[in-house]
Amino acid sequence: MCNCDECEQWMQPYMDRVLTDAERAEAEAHLDDCAYCRRRYRFEEHLRTFVRQAVIEPMPVELKQKLSELRTPLL
């Protein structure tokens, strides 16, 4: 099982699902056992969702129209 420092290092790759199976198992064992890291993991999950939603700017309707006008005319 990893320690808190390693867990902090692995947090983002863990969430990106790019750890090896062995690393993933170690990280999960640590998260099961450590409330300190588990809180931070849950925070990171909420944070990712929040960041993604916070930056969404709806596409202007006029732009959508302009893009449609770029289409090749049908013969």
């Binding site: 931070r40 909420h46 960041v51 916070a54 732009l63």
Partner: protein, 196 residues
């Protein structure tokens, strides 16, 4: 020209027209997602709109070079990032190599220590405003921001981001790591203030 040669030609043209229409419809269906990424790769809304229009104009002209069955969204974003670099909107620079002092838990620790009363993780996130996120993202230097925007906002894989930006996957990983920490540091400063 005899009827026998004209017929296959007509069939070929009809097939091509159908493929093109399908391509254009598929590309347009992705325009919201393309715009969402473009908006945060460049500094202003006007620039993003120009860039998306140029991207679609080029995509519709060169639709034959798209391989059906591959990732169309990544293909469009590749055109978009190339156009962005070609137009000199984005100055290529040496990425900042200064060591980062703060770890990955920095933002949580910063927000949590300044949150009154009982805290749960969702409540700690709520210390951040939409504006904290948007302004912090605009402060992340381009090289790092491109990767953060593609992976965390555009939902692209590391491999797609590497292909779109034409950089090795290892570079995507190191820029993402650094970019996310710069972003968190900027969000912490925006929400709590640099003195806290």
């Amino acid at each position: 020209m005899s009827e026998t040669t004209r017929e296959p030609d007509a069939r070929r043209l009809a097939t091509e027209a159908r493929d093109r229409v399908r391509f254009e419809e598929d590309a347009l269906a992705l325009s919201d997602q393309v715009y969402r990424v473009a908006r945060h790769l460049v500094g202003s809304r006007d620039e993003a709109e120009d860039l998306v229009q140029e991207t679609y104009a080029r995509a519709f002209r060169s639709w034959r070079s798209f391989t059906p069955g591959t990732n169309l969204r990544a293909w469009l974003l590749r055109i978009l990032t190339n156009l962005n670099i070609d137009r000199g909107r984005r100055i290529q620079r040496q990425p900042d190599q200064q060591p980062l002092e703060e770890g990955d838990y920095f933002l949580y620790n910063k927000l949590e220590e300044t949150t009154d009363g009982p805290t749960d993780e969702e409540r700690v996130v709520q210390r951040l405003s939409q504006n904290d996120v948007v302004s912090a993202l605009s402060e992340v230097p381009h090289d790092f921001r491109d990767v953060v925007v593609l992976v965390d906002i555009g939902d692209f894989t590391y491999a797609d981001a590497a292909q779109i930006l034409d950089i090795p996957i290892g570079t995507v990983m190191s820029r993402l790591h650094r970019g996310r920490r710069i972003l968190k540091q900027a969000m912490a400063e925006s929400a709590v203030g640099s003195e806290a």
